[in-house]
């Protein structure tokens, strides 16, 4: 995973709550078996509307998405994170993220930064009044800078550390393989196994 320390890019105000993962990427794009190439799929239904924010310059070149509360609800599809990244987003700001989306973001190096809704509103206003305004998201100091605003954001320390270091989760866990093997030896015999298959 690529390291994330700080990022500065054009902010995109998405004034909407409950942006679910079906909106971020509709199910039809989930038939693909690759992990990249989802940029065309991002918000594909909404992008058919010429007035949608990503169809307008300079927002179409944005890399900091500033969304309403409850972003990423619904389906667990990690494709939502892949699509945001493939389009060019490095970070999403919201006052509340769905748990699975936040987890998926952390695994893929997309920074999900949780801000107070009041600060989100201020950033929206700045971005709408001066389109093209750049937003800086600094993971080291856990702050967002937009115009005159300097706002703190929340992220759990473990995810922050992994993003700063660009660490791969599986590699970290396999350092504790002995613990896993030891735990397996203590599992009760009545726990089910899928193999050999027993059928009705």
């Amino acid at each position: 995973m690529e390291k994330f320390t700080t990022h500065t890019g054009i902010g995109v105000p998405l004034r909407q709550s409950n942006v679910d993962t079906d909106q971020i990427i509709p199910a039809v794009y989930l038939k693909r078996i690759t992990r990249t190439g989802f940029e065309d799929a991002l918000f594909s239904a909404w992008r058919k509307d010429p007035s949608f924010i990503l169809n307008q310059a300079p927002f179409n070149a944005g890399s900091v998405l500033v969304a309403g509360p409850d972003f990423g609800t619904g389906s667990s599809r990690e494709h939502a994170v892949w699509a945001l990244k493939d389009y060019g987003f490095k970070t999403v700001l919201s006052s509340r993220f769905a748990d699975i989306f936040r987890g998926n973001s952390g695994k893929q190096g997309l920074l999900a930064a949780e801000l107070a809704q009041d600060d989100i509103e201020l950033i929206w206003k700045t971005l709408e009044n001066a389109p093209g305004t750049e937003v800086t998201v600094d993971l080291v100091s856990k702050t967002v800078i937009c115009g005159n605003l300097v706002a703190p954001f929340a992220i759990d320390d473990y995810t922050r550390w992994r993003l700063l270091e660009g660490l791969d989760d599986i590699g970290l866990t396999l350092k504790h393989e002995e613990d896993i093997t030891a735990y397996e030896a203590t599992r009760p015999a009545f726990k089910p196994k899928t193999l050999p298959a027993r059928l009705s």
């Binding site: 909407q16 709550s17 409950n18 679910d20 079906d22 909106q23 509709p26 199910a27 039809v28 989930l30 038939k31 693909r32 078996i33 690759t34 992990r35 239904a45 409850d70 609800t73 619904g74 389906s75 667990s76 599809r77 990690e78 494709h79 994170v81 509340r96 993220f97 769905a98 748990d99 699975i100 987890g103 998926n104 695994k107 893929q108 809704q117 759990d156 320390d157 473990y158 989760d169 599986i170 970290l172 866990t173 504790h176 393989e177 613990d179 896993i180 735990y183 599992r187 009760p188 015999a189 009545f190 726990k191 089910p192 196994k193 899928t194 193999l195 298959a197 027993r198 059928l199 009705s200």
Partner: protein, 484 residues
């Protein structure tokens, strides 16, 4: 120390406690007892293993089925859509390469992953269950800690049989009282979501408690736990009891003999201690609950079926108001319209929320001896091939076909419209599924979430209806019931 059920299951699976305390605590490493796999969220995970030269650690704790992207018609023919066919074939190749048990289309155990696990007896109390699907919360009905994960985590579980997780907060959802006839588990969970909102459960594991929950069947408990994710919670559970054990006993992978006794002894310890403290409490009165239905484009936008479409001005919060305005426009609805005056084009009975045998029986009981509204299309999609066989043995397929409904093969189908079962733009659907998001069931499609009995009554009248809105069924219908 007193613990909640969720905490007990958590503690029993800690492989390695995370370093540090409080806000600085690292995640715990938890062991995973069962990993369910399907075609959509697994190909990139298998590919990741291959690229890193890693093995799948425990094929004997892993099981796969084809469900999201499979047709519900002509399943004996090659899948027409080439991309879909490739995805299914990729799962088959991967399962063969990594030694994973797979139930393919046409197999008697194929079906929606969250129907298949419990039906095989693989889902048991006190387990940790994961799947690359947010509705994995379904398995919590057995007192398991079950959650949906993303593809990176799918790969992590494949490689390590563990997950790194930060402890959740706990929320008790207390449902006391007795449900009125025609009011079901679906109405309980839709009411809970409307009450706490789509983000209300975020960061929590929900435990459903109280006399109304204890009185529910396993199928009904699965319906409730299934939609925990729609309240923002990653998991929801119900303490196991005699109802759980009766459901499990004799299933193919249920413990037998001395193992059964040992298991039950353990399962009996799986309830929240009387003095356990939940981080939050929500109360719902079962006595006064009515059939519930959604009017908007997120599952929290719901009202009683006897109510009216709300006005955006009813919402104090600016974001909720804007969301309501947008939802009404998308749904093509006017504020103040009686929900029961809303006409639908399609009725969908299916999905991991409501496609089990009990759901089909409940819907069949409503429509038996009646005629479908001729304008309405009705799709009945059993949750698994096994459920379909069971239903056919009971003659339910005849009831649905005589009524004028389409009797399909098992899969996720129109719940998410990945396969050809989709709504047309502007088409309105009463659906027993779990999400009414924009375009979820097909581009431009409009979804009202309902229970199976409301779906059935709606198919009779053509407008959103509860069974109590129907005229008494003809006399012959009762005879047919006895015969079946």
């Amino acid at each position: 120390m007193a613990n909640t059920l969720a905490e007990k299951v958590w503690d029993a699976h800690v492989v390695r406690k995370g370093d540090g305390d409080g806000a600085n605590a690292q995640p715990d490493l938890l062991y995973i007892d069962l990993h369910l796999v399907h075609e959509v969220t697994s190909p990139q995970a298998f590919e990741g293993l291959r690229l890193a030269g890693r093995k799948l650690r425990r094929p004997d704790l892993t099981i796969a089925t084809e469900d999201h992207n499979t047709p519900t018609l002509d399943i004996d023919k090659p899948i027409a859509d080439l991309t879909s066919r490739t995805q299914i074939q990729t799962l088959r190749n991967n399962c063969q390469e990594f030694g994973v048990r797979l139930h393919s289309l046409g197999d008697a155990e194929q079906g929606i992953v969250h129907v298949v696990g419990p039906q095989l007896g693989l889902t048991q109390p006190g387990m940790t269950v994961v799947c690359g699907d947010s509705h994995t919360s379904t398995h919590g009905a057995f007192g398991a800690l079950a959650m949906g994960i993303g593809t990176s985590e799918v790969e992590h579980v494949m490689a390590t049989q563990t997950l790194s997780l930060k402890p959740f907060k706990t929320m008790a959802i207390n449902v006391e009282g007795t449900l009125k006839p025609g009011v079901t588990a679906k109405d309980i969970i839709l009411a809970v979501i409307a009450k706490i909102g789509t983000g209300g459960g975020q960061g929590y594991v929900l435990e459903y408690r109280g006399s109304a929950i204890r009185a529910l069947s396993m199928e009904a408990r699965m319906t409730i736990c299934n939609m925990s994710i729609e309240a923002g919670a990653r998991a929801g559970l119900v303490a196991p009891d005699e109802t759980t054990y009766a459901y499990m006993k004799g299933r193919p992978h249920a413990p037998e003999g001395a193992d059964w006794d040992a298991a039950v002894e353990y399962w009996n310890t799986l309830r929240s201690d009387d003095d356990a403290v939940f981080d939050a409490q929500v109360d719902l009165d079962a006595d006064t609950l009515e059939p519930f239905v959604t009017w908007g484009t997120n599952p929290g936008q719901g009202v009683s079926l006897s109510d009216k479409v709300p006005s955006p001005n009813d919402f104090g919060d600016e974001n909720a108001k804007a969301a309501a305005e947008r939802a009404l426009q998308y749904m093509g609805l006017e504020a103040g319209t009686r929900m029961k005056d809303i006409r639908v084009d399609t009725v969908f009975l299916g999905s991991c929320t409501n496609s089990r045998i009990e759901d089909l029986r409940a819907a069949a009981d409503v429509i038996r001896g009646r005629q479908k509204d001729p304008q309405v299309r009705m799709l009945v999609v059993p949750g698994s091939a096994r459920v379909r066989l069971e239903a056919e043995a009971e003659g339910l397929d005849r009831v649905f076909k005589d009524f004028g409904a389409e009797w399909r093969f098992a899969g996720c189908s129109m719940c998410l419209g990945m396969n050809p079962d989709q709504l047309e733009p502007g088409e309105r659907c009463a659906s027993t599924s779990n999400r009414n998001f924009e375009g979820r069931q097909g581009k431009g499609g409009r979804t009202h979430l309902v229970s199976p009995v409301v779906a059935a009554a709606t198919a009779v009248r053509g407008t959103l209806s509860s069974p109590s809105d129907l005229d008494p069924a003809p006399e012959s219908a009762a005879l047919h019931t006895d015969a079946a």
